[in-house]
Symmetry: C2
DNA sequence: TTGAAAGCGCTAACAC
DNA sequence: GTGTTAGCGCTTTCAA
């Protein structure tokens, strides 16, 4: 066993008064040192730190929060599913929050009912968070909570009233356009879209980007197919689409749906990408290793989380001054093996964008 | 816009004293009602609840924690990666913690250095959590922190000293055995193992299960190949293994590594499962839709999280009484298309287990 | 069944 | 630079 640091379970936890006594200073001075406040001599600072170390002193956040009214904690309403996207975003958020010197409280909502979001926010507020993050996957639906701390909506427009509301997108619209344009550039007459559930903001952005890309080329807009993000729903959509011989290109709103889709297509005897091209959405690296490797667009989860938290912390700490509007992260198209020119133009050169 | 509930930003937040005044009772009585304590008449209880509702009162957790010494919160040390496994476990933990009426604080550690774990636990302790969960993916290495709250190790043996230590496994050993046995049952002479990083407990359990299965059949134990959980590392291992014509079966310690592995194998002209069978580990449903569909074992993330949190909460709330030891969850082998009898026995019936 | 007073451990405001 | 005093909003005695 390793030598352990810290007091045994017997003696009571040391308080700041104990540190003060040992260091021969007042409680306030200890507080100053612990909070990195100015106007403390280096000598005293050193003594206090040493005393704290000796005693195994640990600051009591609850007491600090009560006295100061600030918690240095941020709450996040996440989605109760374990997808690559959600998880990546959460990891990014955690990192950014930690780097900013805040603690993270997490509450999940079941597959995004508005009730759940309201309840989740309430519970976060009770916990005294200084700010709230509502992460991308959020349903449409009005929520009746009024919160008095800043709220960051990551990847979705504000869903409820708040004193200060921030929004940071992941650039889904531009990504969807890029995905669709890629297919169009390859020479496909039009592109079908396998969308996420209608109620999700995440779906809407992608639909709009797809639609805009089509419109810009004067391409016909085929009817939308709707999935629920799961590979199974992609598979179901694929069975449907496979029977329509006019389909040569599909843009799926999620990598996993794209995988299910491709599977159904191939089962039905349609080759990918020779007969039908498929583009996914997310950028999970594992799909570079399936057959065919999936062409996709990469969502800038980390960049979005970082930027969003920076804004949120700014709103918490300096409510007065404004921060410049968030810059959209670059669009990243990852071309792999699931896309090719349509059968009619096989072997020809792709038509370049203007 | 929807009608909003709650006070505006103008007036100060109501305190329990305000509720007491409106309800015409003492502060202590309000406290009793809010904590569901006995000895309050139904009439008074109703009045208090009504007053709280009217005022939009929200209990202050920091004050409660300070006064009572209990936080009703649990901290989890998670891994800073966004894999399916980690994310599933975290979601399961969140749900279980929430169901138990606790709040969740999350701290990630960078790819699992002991320093990071110690720091993460410290920061959780400062936040005043009543219990800590160190989730499965944890490195070997002694950590010198002494904590005075119960600690749950999910999927790994204790990594440091604590007043009360709990351990709940995900049954990785049994799952690894089942995966290996499945391959052996199919008639393979032996099974290669693509392991996770040596320092991870998660890797060790799987290695031991694999080893035990081999030993039980008197099968030769081929040298271990080591990856880092990533599909890229699986791919690298696959290129290596493909050149060895004696390899007919591989058990990979993670689904993603298995996918990379299969890709390399097929690129090298080895068919899966005809020439080489591959079994993964985790159970991510999306891999049912790749070619070939991946045979794998499902990790019981939810069950483990639920059971673990139940134990932890018990340890927090009733330190005296013991809970019966946790029961191992059932082993679930998901047989899909990536496994078959070895080339030499193709077309024959698989040898059944005793 | 209810209430009054005394803190929980820290920071804020002001003095020195 | 440093110390003093007074709470933050709740729960805990203990008394009624």
């Amino acid at each position: 066993m390793t030598p352990v640091v810290g007091r045994g379970a017997g003696s009571p936890a040391p308080r700041s008064a104990d540190v003060a006594r040992v260091a021969g200073v007042s409680r306030k001075t200890v507080s100053r040192v612990l909070n990195n406040e100015p106007y403390v001599s280096d000598e005293v600072r050193r003594r206090v730190l040493e005393a704290a170390g000796e005693l195994g002193y640990r600051l009591n956040h609850a007491a600090r929060a009560l006295a100061s009214g600030r918690n240095r904690s941020i709450g996040v309403v996440a989605l109760g599913t374990a997808g690559y996207g959600t998880a990546s975003l959460l990891v990014g958020i955690e990192r950014a929050v930690r780097d900013a010197g805040y603690a993270l409280r997490v509450v999940n909502t079941a597959d995004g009912d508005p009730e759940g979001i309201a309840g989740a926010v309430m519970s976060l507020l009770e916990q005294g968070v200084d700010g709230v993050v509502v992460s991308e996957p959020i349903v449409e639906g009005e929520v009746s909570v009024r919160v008095d701390v800043p709220v960051l909506f990551l990847g979705a427009p504000p869903a409820f009233a708040s004193a200060r509301t921030l929004t940071v997108g992941v650039g889904a619209y531009a990504l969807a356009r890029a995905a669709t344009d890629h297919l169009l550039d390859l020479g496909h007459t039009t592109v079908h879209h396998l969308a996420g559930p209608r109620q999700w903001y995440a779906s809407k952005d992608r639909i709009e980007g797809w639609r805009a890309a089509l419109a810009a080329r004067g391409a016909h807009e085929p009817p939308l197919v709707e999935g629920d993000w799961s590979p199974a729903s992609g598979y179901a959509a694929g069975r449907e689409l496979a029977s329509d011989s006019s389909v040569t290109a599909v843009f799926a709103a999620g990598d996993e749906m794209a995988i299910g889709l491709i599977h159904a297509l191939r089962e039905a005897g349609r080759r990918v990408p020779e007969d039908i091209s498929v583009v996914g959405f997310d950028g999970n690296p594992v799909f570079a290793y399936v057959t065919p490797p999936l062409t996709t667009v990469r969502q800038p989860f980390d960049a979005a989380a970082q930027q969003g938290i920076r804004l949120l912390v700014h709103a918490i700490e300096e409510p007065e001054t404004d921060l410049p509007p968030a810059s959209e992260p670059p669009v990243e198209l990852v071309v792999r093996g699931s896309t090719a020119p349509p059968p009619s133009r096989q072997g020809q050169t792709a038509r370049p964008t203007t």
